[in-house]
Assembly symmetry: C2
Homo-oligomer: 408 residues x 2
């Protein structure tokens, strides 16, 4: 019998009806002769009243206690799913993160990370014929404090569990039924991909394609664990994410991604001597401002500037950090531009195909879309453009690189 892990979508637990449907689907997998672990994300089914009480008690409740409260959410949802499976005559058991031995780092700032998973607990359950339901996104640190894994935590849990039980694959149930060459809501001719490499998926994840969390893709890559992105509601073939894919002819670019609400900061210095990339970005990092693209401009007869992009939610913090450290950072002025978006093309083939970026710029130029910033890696090119031009840019690039065409 092969083992598979299914990471459920929030949709799968959004109502008693959906829970019933999800139970049926997991039972189908079991009937097919597979050992199934389902990993449950926190669900909004159960929120609301407790949050209200929390906020009536304190305006700054400790994160540790909030983690305890929030961890019960996925746990209750897991139990509900288990009950729905049992109702249909199959064995099942829900398990909290700590029960599957999910050991995490301590939470310092931000979120905990998985250090270890004890697959034996699940294997034992398989031997009893059970469909195992695990509350995702949670574990315990070395002091047995309950910890939350934060955004993408359930995806990461699924991959870590997959590794620990030697799963053949980890399926990620998603709103979309696979990974597309572009967001179908935005890119007219977007096409579902049969497969994609971890690296390509990582770039797409980081670039704003919300299907699988990058932490989970990174972990899957490390463990060489195939991921399959599938529809949370329809039983159709999805997209396989794996290490190497068969070369698809001429397909240098595999997908177009975008991210809205980008902010560009520009910091100007009197002289080159006064500017220090290291100082600036160390200071920002120390204060948890997440910087994406960085562009340094040094031209003769023009005063040197450093531009960098950040996400909207970091704006207030970034402004404060720059104000507080103006003196020591030695800059003359700082301003920022809002209303920007990032559009990216991704593809492993780029590394051996020069001229992709040039082709991209040419098309954007033809479309009269101004490029504010550029960032490249071996397998992607990102540009920052006015947000109003974002959809047009994504469609134009999708067209330019022939992504709509089905391959032989």
């Amino acid at each position: 019998m092969i083992n598979i892990v299914v990471k459920l979508d929030e949709k799968n637990l959004s109502s008693p009806e959906q829970i019933g449907e999800t139970a049926k689907r997991l039972i189908e997998e079991k009937k097919f002769g597979r050992n199934v672990v389902a990993v449950v994300p926190p669900t909004s089914l159960l929120n609301g009243s407790v949050e209200k009480i929390v906020h009536s008690l304190s305006d700054s409740p400790a994160e540790k206690e909030l983690d305890v409260i929030h961890s019960t959410n996925a746990l209750v949802a897991s139990s509900l799913l288990s009950i729905a499976i049992q109702k249909r005559g199959f064995r099942s058991q829900s398990l909290a993160g700590w029960q599957v031995g999910i050991k995490t780092t301590r939470k310092t700032s931000g979120y905990a990370r998985i250090e270890d998973v004890n697959g034996d607990v699940i294997i034992e359950r398989f031997k009893k014929g059970e469909i195992v339901i695990v509350a995702g996104g949670q574990g315990v640190d070395e002091e047995n404090n309950i910890t939350l894994l934060g955004e993408g935590g359930a995806d990461t849990t699924a991959v870590a569990i997959g590794k620990s039980i030697g799963a053949e694959r980890v399926e990620i149930y998603a709103e979309l039924d696979g990974v597309y060459t572009g967001d179908p809501n935005v890119v007219q001719h977007a096409r579902k991909l049969k497969d994609i490499t971890y690296d390509e998926m990582l770039e797409l994840s980081y670039l704003g394609s919300k299907i699988v969390h990058p932490r989970a893709v990174e972990l899957a890559k490390k463990f060489e664990m195939p991921l399959v992105v599938r529809s949370s509601t329809k039983n159709v073939r999805g997209t396989v994410i794996k290490g190497e894919i068969e070369m698809e002819k001429n397909l240098i670019v595999r997908g177009v991604a975008y991210e809205t609400d980008i902010i560009r900061f520009t910091v100007g210095y009197e002289t080159l001597e006064k500017s220090s990339l290291a100082n600036l970005f160390n200071t920002l990092a120390k204060h948890h401002v997440n910087v994406d693209i960085i562009v340094q401009s040094v031209m003769e007869e023009v005063k040197p500037t450093i531009s960098f992009s950040i996400a909207k939610e970091d704006l207030a913090n970034a402004v404060k950090v720059l104000e507080d450290h103006k003196e020591e950072l030695g800059f003359q002025f700082a301003d920022f531009e809002v209303g920007l978006a990032k559009v990216s093309i991704v593809g492993s083939g780029m590394v051996s195909n020069p001229g992709v970026a040039a082709k991209m710029f040419a098309r954007l130029c033809k479309e009269n879309i101004p490029v504010k910033m550029v960032s490249t890696s071996e397998i992607k090119v990102s540009v920052v453009v006015p947000q109003d031009d974002m959809i047009r840019a994504a469609n134009a690039l999708h067209d330019e690189f022939g992504l709509a065409e089905e391959l032989a």
Copy 2:
């Protein structure tokens, strides 16, 4: 610093306001220089919506899954209380049963029982200056399944924790502000006792006085752990439950208890040879019918009968068991009487004071209250009377044994 355990009442967590008040009270204990663990019972604050979903999923959800769901209730309440304490500037941490190493038996039928508690976890928290909040009534079995301890589980948790941390005492916050000589709602002149022995409290607990669960009193007796019953809302002196109390002059009887909704079964046999107490009560026990008082009547020229009392909730089951096993049990007829209640007098002094039962019967006779069944132990006498006479009987006995009088 001395360690104390406080077992909270459901009332203490019934609203954000109550949670705030409870936080303040625990902080007062801490300020007084005590290390405090509060044990939280499940609270109705959080019920409702999840139950509804469960029942829409299955009409017979597995107990194991219900335990998982219900265990989150006390856990969330613990977190809320911890948040309220922190809000007031004190350190606190909520802990689930498994985090305090509460190991229980496996649940076969009914409820799990505590086998071990790891006090070190709490001692470590004390060293950090924390007020520790433990979700009561829950633990894990040897397979790490979450188990519920059932009725009185939070009381029992409090005593077991008290033992594990060498607590000076375990305080039980209750609706009443102590143990009374009779239920103040029913017995007009009921008086609060300064102290009471474990054995007396056990009889009172079993006899329907709902303040402390008998399992907890038994455990406290075993560990010689003083219990203090105190008001959940007012900071007044309560009643101490301990091994030996100073003799109170002439006070043979210490309290009157009652229990409503008693049912008396009578099973009649053709001949004495056919009747078998062992068969009858083994069969009932095997089918989880809880029998209280048993009376066997063997008189010449009258056919032999066995009478026994059960609680109302066991009636349907008892009828079924008797019907199903009529043949093998060999009885001729069985009938039952409803509308009965049990009234009891309790006191350690009885053992050395003969005639207490006689005095009781005489008074009931004088009051024209018919006695349907009698049961005695070394420290109590119980009678089954018509439920309509119950309150009158309790008051008469309270008066008869001089319980209203304050002692020098």
